[in-house]
């Protein structure tokens, strides 16, 4: 597995996943991220737009053309973003399969050997 396939931070991964179905604006992304993570990732507006800016600069998401006056800007995955998300999911899939084959998932919490 190449190193670049596992470089997405957790929040970035969650935002890309939230945008995988359709373009969304800030609050929709926040809600989707919270829902997808079972409430474990709750972003505030500051943290959200810090991540959005980074993802935008990295070319993983892009702003959808919208009315310039609108305060709600919609974001969608870029081609590169889709590729990165796919690679990241593939990595997790492989990891989970490996964990299943080792029966790690059925172990008691804290059981290591």
């Amino acid at each position: 597995m190449s190193k670049k396939y596992n470089q997405l931070p957790q929040v970035a991964f969650a935002i890309l996943l939230a945008l995988s179905l359709k373009p969304r604006h800030g609050y929709e992304i926040m809600k989707q991220v919270a829902e997808d993570s079972g409430g474990k990732i709750k972003l505030g507006p500051g943290a959200l737009y810090t991540s959005i800016k980074q993802l935008n600069e990295q070319g993983l998401i892009e702003e959808v053309d919208a009315d310039a006056d609108s305060r709600r800007r919609y974001y969608r995955l870029s081609g590169l973003g889709k590729k990165m998300l796919g690679a990241e999911l593939k990595y997790y899939e492989t990891t989970v399969e490996l964990a299943r084959s080792r029966r790690v998932l059925t172990m008691e919490p804290g059981y290591a050997y």
């Binding site: 800030g26 500051g46 737009y49 709600r72």
Partner: protein, 210 residues
């Protein structure tokens, strides 16, 4: 935007201009959406609490990133190098102060009785290195101001955005020198800091003997 966001708008002004222009309205709109979606007063209070914690952290992070980006992209190399050199030269003094503080705390030594004070390296860390650091920082800063184009020198004097590495280290070095000269240990000869500096050679010897 309603007046309920007045404080928030002031807070947003702490973001860098580019970031504020791009995302400021979106942040306010997202907050408005969050509040509109929460009918309960307690829920709204939780949102404000969350935003109260979230935004300051974000502002610090964003400004740090912007400063880092400015430093990497727009700041002249000699400013970076000057700031770095001056910073390195101030490390021994900072370490010595920490060590001396620990020495005092653990062994209850006074400044004069501490091991550091007897070390021959004292003069170096206390005066020469901060003095050199100040020189390097000042030289870089003066070069930065002097190489500005026509009528831009005043803009460069107050250009904290790019010159902060040398301004910061220069001010620190200056405060170190002030501390050293105004500290009672430096009042060996006359007790008057100005006269001490004027008679620096005797002061120097006196400090060494202490």
């Amino acid at each position: 935007m309603p007046t309920r966001f007045t404080i928030l708008e002031r807070l947003l002004s702490l973001y860098s201009k580019g970031y504020r222009q791009r995302y400021g309205d979106q942040i306010l709109q997202t907050l408005a959406d969050m509040l509109d979606d929460q009918p309960k007063v307690t829920g709204r209070a939780k949102i404000w609490l969350k935003v109260g914690l979230d935004l300051p952290i974000s502002i610090v992070c964003q400004n740090s990133l912007a400063s880092g980006s400015n430093l990497m992209n727009d700041t002249p190399k000699y400013i970076k190098l000057g700031g770095l050199l001056a910073g390195i030269m101030l490390i021994p003094f900072s370490l010595a102060v920490i060590a001396n503080t620990l020495d005092q705390a653990i062994y209850n030594e006074t400044l004069y009785g501490s091991r550091l004070w007897d070390a021959p390296i004292l003069k170096t860390w206390a005066l020469i290195l901060p003095g050199l650091a100040l020189f390097v920082a000042m030289a870089s800063y003066i070069l930065y101001v002097a190489t500005s184009g026509e009528n831009k020198w005043f803009k460069r004097i107050i250009d904290l955005k790019h010159a902060w590495p040398v301004i910061l280290t220069g001010l620190f070095a200056l405060s170190v020198l002030f501390f050293v000269f105004f500290h009672d240990s430096a009042h060996c000869v006359t007790g008057n800091p100005v006269h001490e500096i004027q008679n620096w050679h005797q002061t120097w010897q006196c400090i060494g003997q202490r």
